[in-house]
Subunit: 212 residues, 2 copies
């Protein structure tokens, strides 16, 4: 068997050094660079740096929200499971409503997916929240519709739906018109729960290399 | 706001049709095609079809194991969270030992990561199991070392660690010498929990388009 690195700190350091060596990060501010490095680390693809779209204040807004105790609203259990709880500054609540008992009936009533209906259940928690969407394009589309309808604004939308139907379109819609919210998103079909949680973790902790 | 598809069945159908139209799947048998389609669907990248490596009997072995009630051993909570429970034929146990109370001390004792130490705790459940690794290269490396040391063989290894240190290397090691196990893996840096769970879901359910 070939030898391999077993020391967690060395693995982290070499990983982040590789990302910083290979990725084109110079167009980002320092805090968005940290975000980009964590997103790349989560997916193994340095080239996603070229497809990231962000509002300039996204990281600052997300960090302030977490420091203020804002909840983290996720569209699926996987995204919630990837949030590293020990990084959260205020033991912030991680809320996933996809499997809420009310969701299937609401989806039928609204004529949409369970993922979109689950976002409807965020309404009372949206003001100032950190939203992390890692799976369903319909969840992001529905959130944008709710905002157009006057729903309270989250502090930041971390928009990473993935796939072949609506993912690229919903993220393009977010980037073109974020409805007054700060946002981070990845253009195109790629995305996923790991990126959504990595974005939350980047807000909560920065990077291990930045910590004393 | 642009119009978008809201019907879950239509979204699934269009997604899988897009994958089948764009991906090069002809080198795979029918059951490995189903696996490949689900993996592509999970990450939004048709080109991963060209980097998949599998043993010919991987899907059959994994399906037989699930039908026999085998547990599903995952290296992280996200991979476990992505397993669609209602697809599982025998209410199979999904086991994640990363946050087991014994793991940190075991990692210190073995001089390795918590992810690798967590695999050590699989030993009594390995025989005939479905293993799904979606995060840590050290988990896959450690499993291969255990198998070399005579640990019981799982039915199938779904190897999808991701990232810049050891991911490509551990998966190359698996594909070059699977230690007598069936396997599915993705060469290179890409991978992740979503692919690991998608591989389990493909074993458990095939594809929605194949279901009545």
């Amino acid at each position: 068997m070939r030898p391999y690195l077993k020391d967690p700190a060395a693995i982290y350091a070499e990983s982040f050094a590789t990302v910083r060596r290979e990725a084109r990060l110079d167009r980002f501010s320092a805090d968005l660079q940290q975000m980009a490095v964590r997103l790349i680390h989560a997916c193994g693809m340095v080239e996603i740096a070229d497809r990231l779209a962000c509002s300039p204040g996204a990281v600052a807004a997300g960090r302030a929200a977490l420091q203020a105790g804002a909840p983290i609203l996720c569209d699926c259990e996987m995204a919630g499971a990837g949030v590293i709880r020990r990084y959260l500054p205020r033991d912030n609540q991680v809320r996933v409503t996809l499997n809420d008992a009310r969701t299937p009936a609401l989806a039928a009533e609204l004529g949409t997916t369970r993922s979109a209906a689950a976002v409807e259940l965020w309404r009372d928690h949206l003001a100032g929240a950190v939203v992390a969407i890692g799976n369903a394009p319909t969840a992001l589309f529905h959130l944008l519709e709710m905002l157009e309808g006057g729903a309270p604004k989250p502090a930041v939308i971390l928009g990473f739906p993935v796939g072949f139907v609506g993912a690229a379109e919903s993220k393009a819609e977010l980037a073109a018109n974020p409805r007054g919210c700060d946002f981070v998103t990845l253009r195109g079909r790629r995305g996923g729960s790991a990126m959504a949680s990595a974005a939350v973790n980047a807000l909560a902790a920065g990077l291990p290399e930045d910590q004393a």
